[in-house]
């Protein structure tokens, strides 16, 4: 895909000689295709950066997008794609920013002498621009993927709040479907909150969980066992009738884990446990 040294030098020559005309026309084409969603000044800056990076890449001899000398060009292209992806442009709009160069070059070459060599050059430049476009497209997709992954993670965190509801008592109200990944996040966050707040009691409320399968039940059980290893007790509340039936039908042993009908019952249960302890250490004062 690389250009020969000769082709490179002719490309540099063209880009240099017609610098102003190329960047102006390029900005014009982009402004039309993006319909004013980016300012002229912003587009001009990007185009000038690209233009400059291309000349730099071509100057060192054979123009090859994968070579070391094209490092700056790749960086500029990647930066452009990231920016477009973040601002919500489509992949086509992003790639077009690069492909527009083809039209510009064609116009420039047409006004020069048209012969067989020019045609060959144009084909060579063309395939180079194609390569740059594909690179842009890949960077765009990568940025989008990382954006999606970040959002998924944020969603996961938002959907699993661990709250301190009383001195020494934290609760996790679980809402929605619990898959393995989410169950794991819940487990880790709950245990960390126990440490951070020095709370010996945790209430896992599953009122908002529509269904429980073996895997989810296993995750909840493991959380309870892990909490116990750390010196904390878990109470499970809000088990709905259908879920109770599933648990029994699946043959899942909840063993000696305390279960309560509602979050309020669970809290009352914990307070009674801690209340007894508190009363024992601090006899009630006379009023």
């Amino acid at each position: 895909m690389a250009l020969s040294a000769e082709e490179s030098s002719r490309l540099t020559g063209l880009l240099d000689e017609h610098a102003e005309r190329i960047t102006n026309r390029w900005v014009e084409l982009l402004a039309a295709s993006l319909r004013g969603r980016l300012s002229q000044a912003e587009l001009r800056r990007q185009v000038q950066e690209l233009h400059h990076a291309m000349i730099e890449a071509a100057r060192s001899g054979g123009f090859d997008l994968e070579s070391e000398s094209a490092g700056e060009l790749r960086a500029v292209l990647a930066e452009l794609s990231r920016g477009r992806a973040r601002q919500g442009f489509t992949a086509t709009e992003t790639a077009t920013s690069v492909y527009a160069l083809k039209d510009v070059m064609l116009e420039v070459l047409e006004t020069d002498t048209t012969d067989a060599r020019t045609l060959r050059d144009y084909v060579a430049f063309s395939s180079l621009v194609d390569q740059m476009g594909l690179f842009t497209f890949e960077s765009f997709v990568r940025t989008r993927e990382s954006l999606i992954a970040d959002q998924a993670e944020q969603l996961l965190e938002l959907s699993t709040p661990v709250v301190k509801i009383w001195e020494g008592v934290v609760a996790v109200p679980l809402v929605g479907t619990l898959d393995s990944a989410r169950a794991q996040v819940v487990m880790e966050r709950l245990l960390q909150t126990l440490v951070d707040t020095s709370s010996p009691y945790a209430i896992i409320d599953i009122t908002g969980v529509p269904a429980v399968d073996t895997q989810v039940a296993q995750h909840i059980l493991k959380t309870v066992v892990a909490a116990r290893l750390m010196g904390a007790d878990c109470i499970i509340s809000g088990i709905r009738p259908q879920i109770a039936q599933t648990i029994v039908a699946l043959g899942i042993e909840f063993g000696d884990i305390a279960t309560k009908a509602s979050l309020a019952d669970a809290l009352r249960h914990v307070l009674r446990l801690t209340g007894v302890e508190a009363a024992r250490r601090q006899p009630r004062r006379e009023s």
Partner: protein
């Protein structure tokens, strides 16, 4: 070989494991503790593992053994400060640390030991730690 220090605070022996222990160090700690329980007549042992990045089956077994030995010597052992990642790993490993009492931190551990001693002796405070002169070896 490194040695884990054992501190005496009132009626309690406090062991704070700060190093990545070799198996030998762990065995040494087990022996040191048994001797110190007898020598001091303490009724509580707190093993702080806050700094331990992992607990494998060897350390797990050491903790269980210490708990059993101290029970025989009339002392209560509480393991405190286990990190969440360590607890999750132990569950996956299948190690349940049978017979070991745990608490979130040193403070909770002391409360637990105090409560246990209360249960054993009612509200009778005559059981002063210094009274028992068991160190006759």
């Amino acid at each position: 070989m490194e040695r884990v220090p054992v501190l005496k605070i009132g009626d309690i022996l406090l062991v704070s494991i700060q190093v990545d222990m070799s198996d030998q160090t762990a065995v040494q700690l087990q022996e040191d503790l048994a001797e110190r329980i007898v020598a001091t007549g303490c009724h509580g042992v707190i093993i702080d593992i806050t700094a331990l990045a992992i607990v494998d089956s060897f350390v797990g077994r050491m903790l269980s053994t210490i708990a059993s030995i101290s029970r025989v010597l009339d002392a209560e052992t509480v393991v405190v400060g286990m990190r969440p990642a360590v607890a999750i790993t132990l569950v996956e490993l299948g190690l349940s640390l049978e017979g070991i009492r745990t608490a979130l931190n040193v403070e909770r551990g002391m409360e637990l030991i105090a409560a246990t001693r209360d249960d054993d002796h009612g509200y009778d405070d005559a059981d002063e730690p210094g009274d028992q002169s068991t160190d006759t070896r």
